[in-house]
Symmetry: C2
Subunit: 321 residues, 2 copies
């Protein structure tokens, strides 16, 4: 079995590197399913990675993330780039399933062999996205993608996570989507490498740009630091999207010349290693002792008989014992 | 030092239990600062917990979460309940700071001694909210709060987390905030115990209610299971808010009579114990070896010399060694 597994992994990775979309899909499924083959898969992929620029795309619901992603794919394909799209859905603790929205809108590119599109759902466990997304990115990177667009849904923690995982974080805004405090609350002013005001044909786009510019000006910037540009687009018609790609390229050049690319990728790898280590530990205290011990400890905390720190100590002793 | 620490903790906990707002604030600061005294604090608090009903309040930006929270506090105070409010801001990896929005709007209740209001910022580390929020809830619970309102900002992962932490999850919607697919994407249909359509004086409120009702009807429900009610409110004027409180009480009765309260609280304690154990481990591999080993491992992964699983294995060996 192990020998056969090894053959399949080599074969899969080889076919993925040659651009076989089904092999790519199968590898990402192994990531989502937390397959025991993953160790082997990652070991086989790692030497072939490092080419792709990872672009995180984030913003509130309704700003047009999917439409913008679609328009970016069109523009990047016109430049003969190989493109990966990872749509990261929020955890659904009950269904665990991804919904249709993104896939439906992406059908423009469904038949293009140089575009890989994938929706991912996180399983809601601690570090779910932190664990699975970098591994899916590695699959697409090794498959020869020049650019990988990672679309996250909504605002909040997932947005911060994607900023940690991307080389370039693109924040989408749109007129009429709430006031400045809301934007600031979501922390978007601190994570964007590039701001896109979509639906720029609507009233209020210039006001959004002015507000954004003055809020960005408040932040401190070191000498020689990147100044996030603001681009206006109408993703529906493609207006402004070429300029977004110019800024994406410019940011890549900045990342490489400043050494920031290396720093971001090292940080990303560190987070990934930690997430894998934590997952391994959680599996260990689930598998070895069943969930019985943990349940007993939890009940003692609920009844007030034990504090959670003492319970955590006992759990760790059970694992290392 | 340790003796003095112990005295201070007993004193602080005693004063918090008597309703001293400054002692409550100090204890929550200890949680946010990840104080070494926390173990002692939690051990002192745990025997006095279990009374408070924790209500998670969630919804997209702009639906009126802060205004609704404010209106709920007014209504609960009219019933002489002691109320805690925890406003959980999304991680801001750079500033680590909470913004002003919520506090500003809460000034109606700033001078009421029976209301504790606190904004919390998570520090962006893995499990940040998972780690800090239950401990802050325990402080407010031990301080005699009958109800604790936990307001989360935005949609996405943080929402799912709050559903895990609350006894009752209240999902806010408003007319004109995006179509059904957006709502479904955010996973809100699976987490709500109670749905509130705020800004119900606006056009489209009845349509939102119809859409929501038909989407909720699609979900499977076991016999005797809770059917999430839908309440219309205008939080700005207080309209409908009394009915929300009635439904909150009704849900508490259901949780208690069905045994679901016990199950939810045990699950919550389990998650908390795991989060503390994981945090302890992360501290261990940071403290003992500095970050040098982890950085070296991360660089090896970036260069393609090592796969992340092998790196995680090495990290775990370093910790247990």
């Amino acid at each position: 079995m192990s020998r056969r597994g090894a053959q399949s992994v080599d074969d899969l990775v080889g076919r993925a590197r040659e651009g076989d979309a089904r092999a790519v899909a199968r590898l990402i499924s192994l990531v989502e399913d937390e397959s025991p083959l993953l160790r082997e898969v990652m070991a086989a992929l790692v030497p072939h990675t490092g080419n792709a620029q990872v672009i995180g795309i984030t913003g509130s619901p309704g700003v047009g993330k999917s439409t913008s992603t679609n328009a970016l794919v069109t523009e990047l394909r016109a430049q003969h780039k190989r493109v990966g799209v990872l749509a990261v859905d929020p955890s659904s603790p009950f269904s665990g399933g991804a919904l249709l929205g993104d896939r439906v809108r992406m059908q423009d590119h469904a038949l293009d062999r140089e575009v890989y599109i994938r929706s991912m759902a996180s399983r809601g466990h601690l570090g779910g996205l932190a664990w699975a997304t970098p591994q899916a990115l590695r699959v697409l990177d090794a498959a020869g993608c020049d650019v990988i667009l990672v679309e996250t849904v909504g605002v909040g923690q997932s947005e911060v996570e994607i900023a940690g995982m991307a080389d370039t974080t693109m924040v989408l805004l749109a007129p009429g989507m709430g006031d400045g405090i809301q934007a600031a609350k979501a922390g978007i002013l601190e994570i964007g490498d590039l701001y896109v005001i979509n639906k720029a044909d609507r009233d209020g786009a210039d006001q959004v740009r002015r507000d954004l510019r003055s809020m960005l000006a408040l932040g401190e910037r070191r000498e020689g630091a990147w100044r996030p540009p603001i681009v206006k687009t109408v993703a529906q018609t493609g207006e402004g999207v070429a300029e977004v790609v110019v800024e994406i390229d410019r940011h890549r050049e900045h990342l490489e010349s400043s050494g920031e690319m290396e720093r971001r990728r090292t940080r990303r790898a560190r987070d990934e290693i930690e997430a894998i280590a934590v997952t391994a530990l959680r599996a260990r205290w689930g598998d070895v002792h069943g969930h019985d011990d943990l349940d007993t400890l939890a009940e003692a905390v609920v009844s007030g008989a034990k504090d959670p720190y003492a319970a955590a100590d006992e759990l760790l002793q059970l694992v290392s014992g």
